[in-house]
């Protein structure tokens, strides 16, 4: 296990006194590999928060180049970089912010071709993907490999957050056996809302990795920022779930 350096102790000084975290928790963050699907409105700020907290290695999987319509929420990006691969811009932003962490970029989205290998190399997975096929794929593989999955979603002024801890909580398919029909890839959202959900997802991840606080278990957080309503909805594991029913 990698130890904290003198510089680590200086950089993370303000978070080491968080009850239940401390130097031991910070060491766990330093030795953690986190996989983040996409570096967009959710994945980008989430990766930034993990980098700021000192998570030792981030693997970012995101295909595609930066467009104008990404810039209202994808805050790791810069206007000057329109047309460049988003994962490369994310890499530059994160490494400039925290050069002491390792950032690996995959210039493609998570798919059947890479999901098994990427999750094998990770300790925790953050699902910030727009497509339900990709989300279900990560869910299936995390359940199979018994890796925690933090699932973040947003739409308009709303958000959802679910922690999937295989063997302890329902999986994504227990809650949503199928994707919603008539789903459209483009939906309304403000960057402030995606950043909020990203921060909450990062907080859940930090709690799970370090072991402090009470991660959201067997509940789904629903947020409506139109009304500032936060609601924790109980969710239950389905014994006949095709994905996690046998574990």
């Amino acid at each position: 296990m990698k130890e904290l350096t003198d510089e680590d102790l200086k950089i993370y000084e303000w978070q080491l006194d968080i009850p239940g975290h401390g130097v031991e928790g910070q060491k766990k963050l330093k030795n953690c590999v986190a996989l983040i699907s996409r570096t967009g409105g959710l994945g980008g700020p989430l990766a930034f928060q993990l980098a700021s907290a000192g998570v030792g290695k981030l693997i970012l999987a995101h295909g595609g180049d930066l467009k104008h319509s990404d810039l209202n929420r994808q805050i790791l990006m810069k206007h000057d970089d329109i047309g460049k691969p988003r994962c490369e811009i994310a890499y530059e932003t994160l490494k400039r912010f925290n050069p002491n962490i390792e950032v690996e970029i995959i210039n493609s989205n998570i798919s059947e071709d890479n999901v098994e290998e990427l999750i094998e190399r990770s300790d925790i997975v953050f699902d910030c993907a727009p497509l339900f096929e990709e989300r279900f794929l990560m869910n299936r593989e995390c359940v199979k490999q018994k890796k925690p999955l933090v699932d973040c979603g947003m739409y308009s002024m709303e958000g959802q957050l679910i922690n999937i801890i295989p063997g302890k909580t329902p999986c994504l398919n227990c809650i949503f056996p199928e994707k919603p029909p008539h789903w459209k890839r483009k939906f309304p959202v403000f960057g402030a809302v995606s950043t909020l959900l990203a921060s909450l997802g990062a907080i859940e991840g930090l709690k799970i990795i370090s072991g402090f606080g009470e991660p959201l278990m067997n509940k789904m957080l629903y947020i409506n920022t139109q009304t500032l309503e936060f609601k924790k909805i109980p969710i239950t594991k389905k014994t006949n779930c095709p994905t996690c029913g046998t574990i």
Binding site: S37, P180, I233, I235
Partner: protein
């Protein structure tokens, strides 16, 4: 009695509102209340919630006050109950 439906994500976008209160007969079940709600909404709205056999789509959750209930729940709703129609969200 009055039942308040709360809409989420793509359902509220199509409904163009966040909630809707409707009058239903006393002791109505969730199915009866949903069918009543659909009378004052568009076909597009209906297709986000029910399949072609008028069964709840697997992706939609029904949250009564603070707990999930099933579409087949035969228990009677009470005046003032709030039902959230929850449609899953994603990233981007």
């Amino acid at each position: 009695m009055k039942i308040k439906f709360v809409f989420t994500s793509q359902i509220s976008l199509i409904a163009k509102k966040n909630d809707q209160s409707i009058e239903v007969v006393d002791n109505s079940s969730i199915q009866t209340a949903i069918m009543e709600l659909l009378k004052s909404n568009s076909q597009e709205f209906k297709e986000l919630i029910l399949d072609q056999h008028d069964q709840l789509l697997p992706a939609i959750l029904l949250i009564k006050n603070d707990d999930q209930i099933s579409f087949d729940d035969k228990s009677s709703l009470k005046d003032g109950d709030e039902i959230m129609l929850f449609s899953p969200m994603s990233g981007g």
